[in-house]
Amino acid sequence: MIKLEPNEEIITFVRKHWFVMFSEGVILMFMAILPPILILIANTYLKLNITTEAFFFALSLYGMWLMFIWILFFLAWTDHYLDAWIVTNKKIINIDQRGIFNRKMTTMQLDKIQDTSIKVEGILATFLDIGDLVVQTAGQNVKIIFKSASQPYQKKEIINNIQNQQI
């Protein structure tokens, strides 16, 4: 859990859009259903003599394959879930989770933010409300980018509103 300062409260979270996780899920789903499809095709054309023994042998191997996919899915979900921006009434905490063991955390005070911008590119991104959220601080020319953020317009609005309240 993130430790906050006294009088600091979490306003919102910026996370990657669900479609990013959905795309990874579709690939994993395809990997999961591929073995039975291949066996069905092989059975149709090669007339495999699948006995009870052979069926349970294949099922045990398929179970192991599914276990591998299940773990991969939750590794992807963990990456998706832990990669976030936590917007509080005082700062933005940028958590950059890359895989499981690479984690970078940077903090940006709201009064130091000079510019907030968004970049929405493409038809899918426009209709699904996906975009890159870019925050730039004054002076140091430090820029933090959150790629494929969910509801970028709304999040930009929230950050601007908190910033205006601070001023």
Partner: protein, 79 residues
């Protein structure tokens, strides 16, 4: 001839091979589960979300382990 290939393959495989495979998978699953649960516990932003994810994840692991164990037991009995 083609039809016999699949059953010939299962005849060549000893149940011991499958049990060894299962133990290997169980070992790596246990390590992966510990890593995942540690990350969720340490870096979570919502306890409710993590509890739900943990229950779903562990339920899936239990179900898949049962499928593997039952399949290997039936394979051992029938072979």
């Amino acid at each position: 001839m083609e039809g016999q290939v699949f059953s010939m393959m299962t005849e060549l495989v000893s149940p011991l091979f499958l049990w060894a495979g299962f133990l290997l998978v169980a070992f790596f699953t246990a390590i992966a589960s510990l890593i995942l649960l540690y990350h969720w516990y340490r870096f979570n932003t919502s306890r409710q979300m993590v509890i739900t994810a943990g229950i779903v994840y562990l339920s899936g692991v239990i179900v898949l382990n049962l499928i593997i164990i039952i399949s290997i037991i039936i394979f051992t009995v029938t072979s």
